[in-house]
Symmetry: C2
Subunit: 220 residues, 2 copies
DNA sequence: GATAGTTTCATACAAGTGTTTGAAATGCAA
DNA sequence: TTGCATTTCAAACACTTGTATGAAACTATC
C-alpha cells in the first residue's frame, strides 16, 4: 500500500460534508469533488457508498466506546470491583456528551458527524448500532454490581433513561436552546453531564415508595 | 369535490407502506400500486411527494397535540389554574406513548407510522417538528405555575428530560426489549407512562442538595 | 344530452444516482 | 529498463426517482 492519500482524503471530505449537510443530500460526486479525487476512487477503496459511511461511523463509535469502557474499568478497579452508580453513569454518558456538545464553533467535524448520525439514522449506521447491545450489557452488569438490591428491570430502565436523556439532549440541542431562549446552557458540557447523571441516579436509587408513581409500578 | 376516494386511498396506502418499510425505500410507484391508482394522482392531489408526507404527519401530530392539551386543560381547570406536576407530565408524555407503544400486533398503522417518523426524520417532517415549540411552551408555562419555586432553567431541563425518556423509549423500544431479554415490558403502556412521569417528577422536584450531582449543578 | 369542470390515465421527461469498465498512469522490484 | 501490480482517470452504464403532459374518461349542471 503506497500512501493512503486518496483514501484518507475521501474519508475526511465525506465526514466534513456529512457533518455539514447531512446524509440526505451529499452524493459521491460531492465527496470526490471536495476531496479532489476521481469518482471511481470511492468504489475502488471502499467498495460502496454504504461501506464508506459504515467505516466513518465505526471509527468514531469505537473511539467513544473505548473511552466509555476505560472510564468504567478504572472506576470498578478503584472500588474493588464495585463502582458508585454515579461514576458508572458518568462513564456511560460522559464521553458521548463531551464528544457531541460544547461551544458550537469549536465542535469538531467528528462531533458534528456523530450528531448527524444520531439524527438521520441511515441504514448502514442502523445496522452497526444494532450490534451495540453487547457493549451496553457490560454497563448493565456494572450497574447491577453497584446496586445489588435493584431488580434487573429497574437497572435496564435506568440505563435506558440515562441514554435517553443524553442522546435526546444531543439530538434536540438546538430546539432546547430555542425553547429556553438560551437559558439552558449546552456549552458547559460538564454541567449537562451532571444533570443527566443526577436524574438517572435518582431514577435508579429512589425508594420504591417515595412517589406514588413509582410505587404504582413496583406494585405490579 | 366528488368522492375523495383516490385521495384517501393514497393517504392510507402511503401511511401503511411508510409504517412498514420506512421512508427510505418507499417510492411513489410503490404507493400508487398499493393504492391501486395512477402514478400522476399523487401530484394531482397533493402537489408533491413531500406534501403528501407532510399531510400524513400533520394529521397525526395535531391529533396527539390536541389530546395533550385536552388533558392539560382539564387538569389545570380542576386545580384552579394550577395542576400537580405529575398530571402535567402525564398529559405531556401519555398521549405519545399510548399512541406508539402497546402490543406490537395490535399497534395501529398510525402508531407505526409515527414511530418511523420519529426514527428516520425526513426533511418535510423535520420542518413541521420545528414549529412544535409554541406547543411545548404551553407545557413549560403550566409547569412553571405548578412549581413556582423552580427556576426556568430547571423547568426546561425537566421538560427536555421527560420528552427524552418518552421518545427514546419509543425509538429504541426494540433494543430495550432485546437488551433486557424481554424483562422490560413495553406492552403495558400505562406502566411505562408512570415510570417516565415518576422520573421526570423527581428531576423537577428533587431538593437541590439531595444528591451530590444535583447540588454540584445548582451551585454554579 | 350538450357542456364545462374535474379527475384519471398512459406515457414521457429530465435529472441524478451509485457503480462499472477498460485504458492510462504510476510506483516498485528485479 | 523491463515487467508487474497498484492506483487513477474519464467515460459510460443501468436504473430509479419525482414530476409534467395532454388526451381520455367521468361527473354534474343546465
Amino acid at each position: 500500500m503506497a500512501s493512503d492519500h486518496t483514501r484518507s482524503a475521501i474519508l475526511a471530505a465525506a465526514e466534513r460534508l456529512y457533518a455539514d449537510r447531512g446524509f440526505g443530500d451529499v452524493t459521491l460526486r460531492d465527496i470526490v469533488a471536495e476531496a479532489g479525487v476521481n469518482l471511481a476512487a470511492v468504489n475502488y477503496h471502499f467498495g460502496s457508498k454504504d461501506e464508506l459511511i459504515a467505516e466513518l461511523f465505526v471509527t468514531r463509535s469505537i473511539a467513544t466506546n473505548r473511552e466509555r469502557l476505560r472510564e468504567l474499568k478504572a472506576a470498578e478497579e478503584a472500588g474493588g470491583g464495585r463502582a458508585p452508580i454515579e461514576v458508572i453513569l458518568r462513564a456511560l454518558v460522559g464521553p458521548t456528551l463531551r464528544g457531541c456538545l460544547g461551544p458550537e464553533n469549536q465542535r469538531s467535524t467528528a462531533a458534528r458527524f456523530m450528531i448527524r448520525a444520531s439524527i438521520e439514522s441511515v441504514p448502514p449506521i442502523r445496522r452497526i448500532k444494532n450490534r451495540e447491545i453487547d457493549h451496553l450489557r457490560k454497563f448493565a452488569g456494572a450497574m447491577r454490581r453497584s446496586l445489588p438490591d435493584r431488580s434487573d428491570v429497574d437497572i435496564y430502565w435506568g440505563l435506558n433513561f440515562a441514554l435517553a436523556m443524553a442522546h435526546h439532549t444531543i439530538r434536540e440541542s438546538e430546539r432546547l436552546t430555542k425553547l429556553s431562549e438560551g437559558k439552558c446552557d449546552l456549552d458547559h458540557v460538564e454541567d449537562v453531564v451532571e444533570r443527566v447523571v443526577s436524574v438517572a441516579t435518582m431514577a435508579l436509587t429512589a425508594g420504591r415508595t417515595e412517589t406514588k408513581a413509582a410505587s404504582k409500578v413496583a406494585a405490579r
